[in-house]
């Protein structure tokens, strides 16, 4: 490092114009090389497959016998009752689970941000810990916990909370509840961490000023905390929405989409179309693109709802 820098510096004093261009091109070159690596990687592993999938979504057929069918796959979506059920299920998860999780995460983060709270670290770790467990591992554990003679039912029965065992996995309604409980457990801590870090950036002076003005804790929460966290709330609700639309592991491992197709998600339907049934990769790609469209639409709605300033 030293000898070369010295050399350049000595040179620059002798031939100022020429060498500064040289070193500028050199640094531009280095800069671009870094960017190019990422760009090439992203293009080959992201954009190229995306375009291929788009082309694939206009084809249909079994396995490798694909033929172009124009928009047939897209019209087929509308009359496919399994697909419609999967979309409905996904929306139920979305509408019920995302708000519950966001509110819970917000609530927990405010509690844990309290300066007087002792052993904060322990609580934070405990609540964040689910987010580092493997999706499959925790799903399998939930499956056991919620099975007919599992821990949850045993406890509910022992404490006489329910008169008879709840069919957590085999009843269409309770199976959805089980999935919602599972994903809430897994992802609340993850979202809480975002709120916590944002809360730490909120100037305490604002709260002090509010207190002096006589604002109650509830008022402080709604008038200060929530507006200050708005960009983060937007971010977490978009990522949670995307995550829910792509929901797969939990359903595959806890209920396999059952009973019937009461818990099937769109992603699981894509899996079934490609791997469980006789593969129709073209139609599966169409369903995937439907998710892409949904995600884009939802993100736009959320940006608009949160106001452009924060977007």
């Amino acid at each position: 490092m030293n000898s070369k820098t010295k050399g350049t510096m000595a040179g620059s004093s002798l031939f100022p114009g020429k060498l500064s261009i040289n070193s500028r091109t050199k640094s531009t070159f280095i800069g671009w090389s870094f960017v190019i690596t990422a760009v090439i990687m992203i293009c080959t592993f992201y954009f190229y497959p995306m375009i291929q999938a788009l082309i694939l979504s206009f084809q249909s057929g079994t396995g490798t016998n694909l033929t172009f069918v124009g928009f047939n796959n897209y019209t087929r979506l509308l009359s496919d009752s399994t697909f419609i059920t999967a979309v409905k299920n996904t929306f139920i998860y979305l509408i019920v689970q995302v708000p519950i999780m966001i509110i819970l995460a917000l609530f927990l983060s405010v509690l844990l941000n309290d300066r007087t709270l002792k052993w904060k670290g322990i609580y934070r770790t405990a609540i964040f810990l689910p987010a580092v467990t493997s999706l499959v591992a925790y799903s399998v554990i939930f499956k056991y916990l919620f099975s007919n003679d599992g821990l949850v039912n045993t406890m509910l029965l022992k404490f006489s909370i329910v008169p008879e065992a709840v069919n957590w996995l085999t009843d269409p309604f309770w199976a959805k509840i089980t999935i919602i409980i599972a994903i809430t457990w897994r992802w609340t801590g993850y979202n809480m961490i975002f709120y916590l870090s944002a809360l730490q950036n909120v100037d305490q002076a604002i709260y002090e000023a509010a207190k002096i003005d006589g604002a109650s804790a509830v008022q402080q929460f709604f008038k200060i905390t929530i507006p200050m966290l708005k960009p983060i709330i937007l971010f977490t609700s978009i990522t949670s929405t995307i995550g829910t639309l792509q929901l797969f592991d939990e359903i595959m491992n806890i209920t396999k989409g059952g009973p019937g197709n009461a818990t099937t998600s769109i992603s699981q339907y894509i899996y079934n179309l490609s791997f469980k049934y006789t593969p129709d990769f073209g139609y599966a790609a169409t369903v995937s693109y439907f998710i892409v469209i949904l995600i884009v639409v939802f993100s736009i709605i959320q940006f608009k709802a949160a106001g452009d300033r924060n977007g």
């Binding site: 690596t37 396995g63 016998n65 469980k276």
Partner: protein, 428 residues
């Protein structure tokens, strides 16, 4: 500073180059050497055990051939095959793979150039006739038939006796009579007659095959649900069992096995591959027997059916010929090998000449001295051959939902015509 940057950059490039060359070498190891035969199969106690025996026999005569057996769950094999075959490269795929008969047509027709034609490697007339349709396309034989999914009615003779029945009363039953017996057994012993998983319609498949009917027309692609008499009767019987309150529900395989190992149910109508699981509960020795499977009452139905069963397939590649030779000389023609399969792992093949062998005629103490293997072998020959077609599991998922609607009171004709409409929409 720049040097450091350059170093970082080259490190990044170098590392990515390394990792890509790594993945190259790991995917190309299969198929590169034509003397190495790689095989994928599932179930260590059954398929893998059979393969190991075949390997031993074959390697003795062909010491230069290396056979590698890899165990994977069936779902994983299906997924890996679909991924590998659709990418158009045989790299990373095995030379021999086990495929369930219900799925075979789906693979053979979806990837027409991927499979090696086996017509020359063995004589298909040596195998049970019903195995030929699922394993061939347009008269070309691609699969070497392996285990028989021939079904039997496994019964607890002690419970039946309490209800006043003997094994002789169970010959040539139809499903309606089966329900009646079930009710009596429940009255006399308090035990349920059967255990069912609402998410698995194996029993429906088994019932309609007794009548030579399937979810699809003979062409293997057109759904045949609405107006399918056999399917209608099977649905009615399924509901009849539920209404008669002789069904103990289960939600997965381990509960299914536990239900009969615990002695909670009086009969198990299923494929012969359940034998090892039944015998696993040694304390019930002598209490079991196997009767012919009940049939549907539609015309032409027989007291023989099939549930599951799979066959061997060779994938095109450098070692395809070697692989076909291996299969042909072991599973395809070795009578002794089949005797060994029966005695050592209880696997009943579909190779007809083997049925005359000594091991097939052996009495089984667990089943009260019944010669169950030779009974099964006899029923195997009566099974009506079917083209399972391409869409067994896609249609079954539709039927599972409609079955729940039916049990909740929807009329049978609506159930089947709705299922038909959904299937037609989905299988376009």
């Amino acid at each position: 500073m720049k040097k450091v940057l350059m170093l970082c950059l080259s490190a990044v490039l170098f590392l990515s180059a390394c990792s890509s060359s790594d993945s190259d070498s790991s995917t190309s190891d299969a198929g590169a050497d034509s003397n190495k035969v790689t095989i994928w199969a599932w179930d260590p106690n059954f398929n893998i055990a059979a393969l190991n025996m075949a390997k031993e026999i074959y390697e003795k005569e062909n010491p230069d051939v290396e056979i590698e057996i890899i165990e994977n769950a069936q779902a994983d094999i299906v997924q890996k095959l679909n991924t590998g075959l659709s990418s158009g490269t045989s790299k990373g795929l095995p030379s021999i793979v086990l495929i369930e008969d219900y799925r075979a047509q789906s693979f053979l027709q979806a990837y027409p150039d991927a499979f090696y034609e086996m017509s020359g490697a063995f004589n298909k007339d040596d195998f049970a006739e019903y195995k030929i349709a699922p394993t061939s396309v347009d008269g070309k034989q691609y699969g070497l038939p392996f285990d028989s999914g021939v079904t039997g009615l496994y019964v607890r003779t002690d419970y039946l006796k309490e209800a006043g029945y003997t094994l002789d009363d169970l010959q040539g039953l139809d499903w309606q009579q089966y329900i009646e017996i079930g009710k009596k057994v429940k009255e006399a012993t308090g035990k349920d007659m059967i255990t069912l998983d609402p998410n698995d319609l194996g029993l429906i498949r088994l019932m309609i095959q007794t009548a030579g009917s399937w979810y699809l027309e003979e062409d293997g692609v057109t759904p045949s649900l609405a107006g399918n008499e056999a399917l209608k009767e099977a649905f009615e019987i399924y509901k009849g069992m539920m209404d008669a309150n002789i069904v103990k529900p289960n939600s997965d395989w381990s509960q299914f096995v536990a239900n009969f190992n615990n002695g909670d149910i009086a009969s198990v109508p299923t494929g012969n591959w359940i034998t090892p699981s039944v015998k696993a509960e040694a304390s019930q020795s002598g209490k079991w027997a196997v009767a012919p499977i009940p049939k549907l009452s539609v015309e032409g139905a027989v007291n023989a059916s099939n549930l599951g069963g799979s066959s061997w397939y060779v994938l095109n590649g450098d070692s395809a010929e070697q692989a076909a030779d291996f299969l042909g000389k072991t599973f395809g023609s070795n009578k002794e090998f089949y005797q060994q399969l029966v005695t050592e792992i209880g696997a009943i093949g579909t190779y007809k000449p083997a049925a005359g062998g000594e091991a097939y005629g052996k009495e089984d103490e667990f089943f009260g001295g019944q010669k169950i293997i030779s009974d099964f072998a006899g029923w195997t020959e009566e099974i009506t051959g079917l083209n399972y077609g391409m869409h067994t599991y896609a249609i079954e998922d539709i039927l599972i939902v409609e079955m729940q609607n039916y049990l909740n009171g929807k009329s049978i004709d609506d159930v089947l015509s709705d299922a038909q409409a959904q299937a037609e929409a989905q299988l376009k």
